[in-house]
Amino acid sequence: MTTELETPGFTNTSEADLAGRWGLVIDQDICTGCQACVAACSMENNVPFVGEADAGYGRAMHWIRIERLWKSTEYPDVKMTSFQPTMCQQCHNAPCEPVCPVYASVHSQAEDLNLQVYNRCVGTRYCGNNCPYQVRAFNWRDYTDARIRPGLKTLQNQLNPDVTVRRRGVMEKCTFCIQRIHKAEDKAKAEGREVQDGEFTTACAQACPANAITFGRIDDPASKVSQAAITSRASHLLDELGTLPRVTYLAGGG
């Protein structure tokens, strides 16, 4: 019993940590709001369908959602904000991490991602409460159990074998398609090299018909995501909270 316990760092501010590893860039100027990313994400990550009643009550479990809000509420002159695909921002200083009493919401040191250990979660929902972006999804019922939902029987054949299926009472969230990251890393390791930028991409970025979503390495200054993130159009969601999100939004023409 000599295992060393490593607690997740949540106030770490060293240069290497600030750089991060994987990042997303979302161009709101070319996003058409087609929801292809939502569908692709649900298929890739076995995100369950919650059914009509629960979806109507706001329990749809999408890991990515397209936000769009009314700017003016007077009917004829309705102006809308631009589409904003929102998923877990993979904060470096994630507010969801320290509040979990059982280490189910942890920081991955290797990928600098914010991970949810499904089989460790006891469902206090503190992380969901404390997430300023409200991007966590809770399994309110057993949505993936075919014994409870007979309609799922054949649909279960489409589940992605690389991703677990979650049961009731467990919090889940966007992982930046960590199964794809691991696959690419394993391949690169076998070939004795680093993972190249653009070698693979996440399900949402892959499905985007307008190429509004770009995934890549933000620790590589030459990568597409790093180049996009230093333009004047770049911004982060709720930057003032100091969470150091890894998702950059591009908006504002030019």
Partner: protein, 481 residues
């Protein structure tokens, strides 16, 4: 130049209205022999009318339905049967937790602080208040378990050594909460038990056989009332009375940190710690008033022990705590309002002008206006039923206060896309269940445990004396410690 002479004292014009208090109306100056008081308490415990058992049966059925059937549904089907959803991940279950911990606070406050400060009017009702602490904490603990998504894995929150060396995360305010509530439950139970030992021994000596005799025999720990035993007991009670006060303050401060430590508008407030402590006392004091009224009107002989003077003490405490609560609420309100943070302002506007604004106004009326308007008057304070009604209203107000902070407060967050109002579903029967369980436990305890600490009352009566100083009769108290 004219000079005016003023009388230094005005002659009493309404001499007949000046009510001279007869000190012999007070419990401390109306002593009965120890044996008679013992017999009265034993009789009130053993004589039960059928209505008691009818109410007990009804409560038991409610508990079985709410905490047996409904809770099974909640566990087996998931939290989807409750009304919680994004962004209201926390709902009525945590409102109940905070509420019951609040109720549990008054017991210790009244018992420990009044005992440390040697307030004499505490004597007959310390036990009734301490029992509320223990039974209230039971409801608080159950409410946390109801809230968990996977309650069958709750032991993962306890630091149990395991082969994977996974510990709970002590960064989490929920862990502090768990530690604080456990400490409080254990220490308040011991603090309830210590002054109970002499009364259990009394009950043991006055019970003829049966399972009750065995029950008292075990719990009385062979207490015989020797000088040495009393000395040790008094020392232990003194240590606990002092030590439990910081524990009590820490518990509700830590409960408030569950909210204050979060990065949510309306929650991350530095005044939450003392504000929650005072809020807890506000609801707890009011609950003690209700319990005292119920005991006095239902238990035989309790009109001798619990008198208007005790309601007067409770009323003064309630008024004081209500003023303190108003001060802290004003603090918690004015700082975000003046600060003008966009999100804090939205939370405040939603609370005051949103669809649940009537709750906010009700809270202000029953928590501040009604206590201030009634409890200033001694005659009204000494009216038990009036105090019980005011207490009930304060508890309604304090429940609303927690409701406004938790599910109403989290409706507004920094992502307007996710705003959604919360409606409780299965929470309603289960909340009724916790109230029923509390009453049921209390009713059963009233048949088993002497709710009046007879030895403490007698100790007070021995220490008090009426002496004549000239023509006046003066109540004196000799310190026997």
């Amino acid at each position: 130049m004219a000079t005016y002479a003023k009388p230094l004292a005005r002659p009493k014009q309404h001499a007949e209205e000046e009510h001279e208090e007869n000190p012999r109306e007070h419990l401390m100056h109306d002593p009965l022999p120890r044996g008679q008081m013992n017999a009265m308490v034993m009789e009130s415990m053993n004589e039960t009318n059928p209505l008691f058992w009818v109410i007990t049966a009804v409560l038991a059925v409610i508990v079985l339905f709410a905490l047996g059937y409904e809770w099974s549904v909640l566990i087996l089907q998931g939290q989807g049967t409750a009304g919680v959803t994004r962004p209201d991940y926390w709902g009525v279950f945590l409102v109940n937790t905070v509420f019951w911990i609040g109720i549990s606070h008054a017991g210790t406050f009244i018992s420990a602080i009044l005992r440390v400060l040697k307030i004499e009017s505490r004597r007959p009702f310390t036990r009734a208040a301490e029992l509320m602490t223990t039974f209230g904490l039971v409801q608080a603990g159950l409410s946390i378990f109801m809230h968990l998504g996977r309650v069958w894995l709750v032991y993962w929150m306890f630091p149990i050594p395991n082969e994977r060396t996974i510990w709970p995360d002590f960064h989490s305010p929920l862990m502090w909460d768990l530690m604080a509530i456990t400490t409080y439950l254990l220490s308040s139970t011991m603090y309830l038990f210590l002054p109970l030992i002499p009364d259990l021994a009394m009950a043991r000596d006055r019970t003829e056989g049966g399972w009750k005799k065995i029950f008292y025999k075990i719990l009385a720990l062979g207490f015989r009332g020797t000088e040495g035993e009393w000395k040790n007991l008094t020392t232990a009670m003194n240590i606990f009375a002092f030590a439990i006060i910081p524990v009590m303050f820490s518990v509700h401060t830590i409960v408030s940190w569950d909210f204050a430590m979060a990065t949510r508008p309306g929650w991350s407030s530095t005044v939450f710690g003392p504000y929650f402590v005072i809020g807890a006392l506000h609801s707890g004091m009011a609950a003690v008033a209700i319990v005292l009224f119920l005991l006095r009107s239902t238990m035989k002989h309790y009109k001798y022990f619990i008198r208007p003077e005790h309601f007067n003490t409770m009323g003064m405490l309630m008024l004081l705590v209500s003023m303190a609560w108003a001060y802290f609420y004003f603090n918690d309100y004015i700082v975000p309002w003046y600060g003008g943070d966009k999100w804090d302002k939205l939370v405040q506007e939603y609370t005051e002008k949103g669809p649940l604004a009537y709750l906010w106004f009700t809270m202000l009326i029953v928590n501040i206006v009604i206590p201030w308007a009634t409890l200033w008057n001694k005659k009204w304070r000494e009216t038990p039923w009036l105090l019980a009604i005011v207490g009930l209203l304060i508890n309604v107000g304090m429940y609303i206060e927690r409701y406004l902070i938790i599910p109403v407060g989290v409706t507004i967050n920094r992502m307007p896309f996710t705003w959604r109002q919360y409606y409780p579903r299965i929470e309603i029967p289960m909340t009724i269940g916790t109230f029923a369980l509390f009453l049921l436990l209390y009713m059963l305890a009233s048949r088993l445990i002497p709710l009046i600490p007879v030895w403490e009352v007698q100790e007070g009566q021995e220490a008090h004396m009426i002496r004549k100083m000239g023509k006046a009769e003066i109540s004196t108290l000799s310190d026997m410690e």
